[in-house]
């Protein structure tokens, strides 16, 4: 089994796993390096290009890790969304005991 899981069942995808934390980690690294890399690259500093590159690669890795899980969550959730929306409107209109 590989370190990063790419196949998800509906039940598993709804829970929180290592892949969520990895996505958060790469997302954070990406944000910080995009911020620094863009400013330094705009002043044509070679270290800026390197840092900007790290930012882009981190973003790609983040997506590669989390996309299968997000797809699965979305697919399953959209099936139930209609019912949830009906419940939401019932609460909004005081039609259910809260």
């Amino acid at each position: 089994m590989s370190f990063v899981r790419r196949e998800w069942s509906a039940a598993d995808a709804d829970d929180w796993h290592k892949e969520d934390w990895l996505a958060i980690l790469f997302s954070t690294v990406s944000y910080i390096t995009l911020l620094i890399g863009t400013a330094l690259s705009f002043l044509a500093m070679p270290i800026g290009y390197l840092i900007l590159g790290i930012g882009i690669v981190s973003g790609v890795i983040m997506m590669w890790i989390i996309d299968p899980k997000l797809k699965r969550i979305s697919h399953e959730y959209e099936k139930r969304q209609k019912d949830y929306l009906r419940q939401l409107e019932e609460i909004q209109k005081w039609e259910v005991e809260k």
Binding site: L35, F42, L85, K98
Partner: protein, 643 residues
Amino acid sequence: MITFQFLDWLWIVLFVALMVFFGVYFYRMGKRSQSDFFLAGRGLPWWLPASSVYATHTATDTPIWVAGVVYKYGFSGLWYAFFSAWCAISAFVSTRIFRRSLAYSQAEWQSLRFGGLGAELLRGWLAGWQVFMNMFILGWVGIAMGKICQMIFGWDLWMGLFIFTTLGAIYVLSSGYWGVVMADFQQGVVAFLIIVIVSIWGVVAAGGPDEIISRLNSYSSTVEWEVPADWENRRGAIRITDAETGKAVAESDGSFAIATAISEEAQARLESEAAAMIKSKQEEMAGLLFPTAEDEIQAGEKYTIVWDSGDSDSRVNVDVTADGGSSWSRIASQHFSGQAWRLNFFSFTGMFEGQFPVAWFITMMIIALIGGFGMGTSIDWYPEAQRIQSAKTVRDASYSIWAGSALVLIRNSIWAAAIIGFFVLYPGIADSGEYEMAWYRIGFEYLPVGLIGFLFAGVLAIHLSTVSTHLNLGAMYATRDFYHHYVNPKASEASLVKVGRISTFVLLLGSFVFGVIIGEEITAWLIFALWIMAAGVWLPNILQVIWWRFNSWGYLSAWMANLGLSWLVVWILPRFGVIPALPDYLQFWILIVLNALVYLPVTFMTKPENLDHLVAYYAMSRPIGFWGPVRKEAERRGLIPSN
């Protein structure tokens, strides 16, 4: 004042026509239902809300704010604008949880997460707070537009506020969120283009990247100083010492005069003198270069102290005396010599001292990043919540928030490079009101004819995208959370859209009032709103997402306590000398602790939320964190699969 040519006007007319077109074109879609008027029918692909996130958070006051901190602190000033990084974590945590709740607004989410009277009180409170905040935000971005129009056309402040906020209201009134999000997309494109163009122009105007770096390495050392207002009719002297050894680096070769008032011409001459001294660093001019014994400065004014330390890597302490050296006051500690530090993102001045301490940086990282686990930890959460719900799937919501905020950070960096260029051109500006306009000055002073009009169209795009969002968002809280939930639960879709339009109009009028009240004190209000008002509820905003036991009474008490405590700690107690004026990061931690002393006891002394209610919420939203008992019950009832 700036004179527009035919081509400039053409850009502006085309842009305004496009805005009106959006209002008319999406009128029919906006009026179909409440969901269309406020969430575009919950059917948008990720890139549309993403562009809206980016466009909304690119307001007319944003380049003013970014220019202010970058001119003063160099690239490390970008961390002041790092608030939006909460999306790094939020995109995959709180965004996902909130999108699954399907709540229109953060106020509505309260009645899903909590139950009973406490939830209703919270919903009403948050709705009222958000109507107020959206008016307030509209006021401050509106007055920033007024400031720009004053610079360009010489108008009174209120004219820019009134004319261009009303223009945004036209298409929001007509087509609601459909108009907002569609206009945001093209406004985002125009705004990004013009930001890149102006910033490239700024860098080129300063001599290009190599020249900027070279000049920063050759300029003299500087520090800002505001002369105390009660030092009038005295003579001052400055002493600069090495922060490590205490050895004198530079000092006044005699005392300079401090007058009650000097003429505007004399003030301008002093600024030019300081700028010339910064640019003309020469070995034989070592020592204190400005102010000199021949200068007469004004009490209560800001100046740039200039010296040549010889060693650009050293750190210094800067002291000043007005009693012949009997006592010295510290202006800056651990301050970097030279100007090369402006290119360093991590130019810390010590753990707790100086203008950029490590303690401040760590606080900002925690606020910005860890805040992503919560909902409402940043004031940007509230408009983002609307974009999250307008995305067609959970996946689209996550990517829209992540990408929109990434663009915001990239945009800040592009601005920052231009502001560094501006510093190279105009070093030594001590008046923050002047250097805050740096990016606009680059655009309007350096762009050629034709592009000036495109720049103004870009400024309009920046303004309208923010204004339209907050008009529609404030109206959503008024309509969905007040009118529909409390006044008329059986209202038809048509009447809800009508109430939405009336609310939009009321918000427009309210924003004019706030704009006039805020006046020119934009930065002071921004710091208060972004930092202090959110400090005490920052942790409760996270707890409500991650901890099942945190209840509505705890959260409500946190809000109430914060409103009182933030004023006390930030203004009232220091004003009466009860506590010293504290650095902002310390205020944040004090407010966190003081508030916890209120909401934690309240939480534990009141009952947990009803388990049925929590189980229903858990099964729908699947929150992260400490939900053990609720999860176990949801599994027992067969609502979620067992592990």
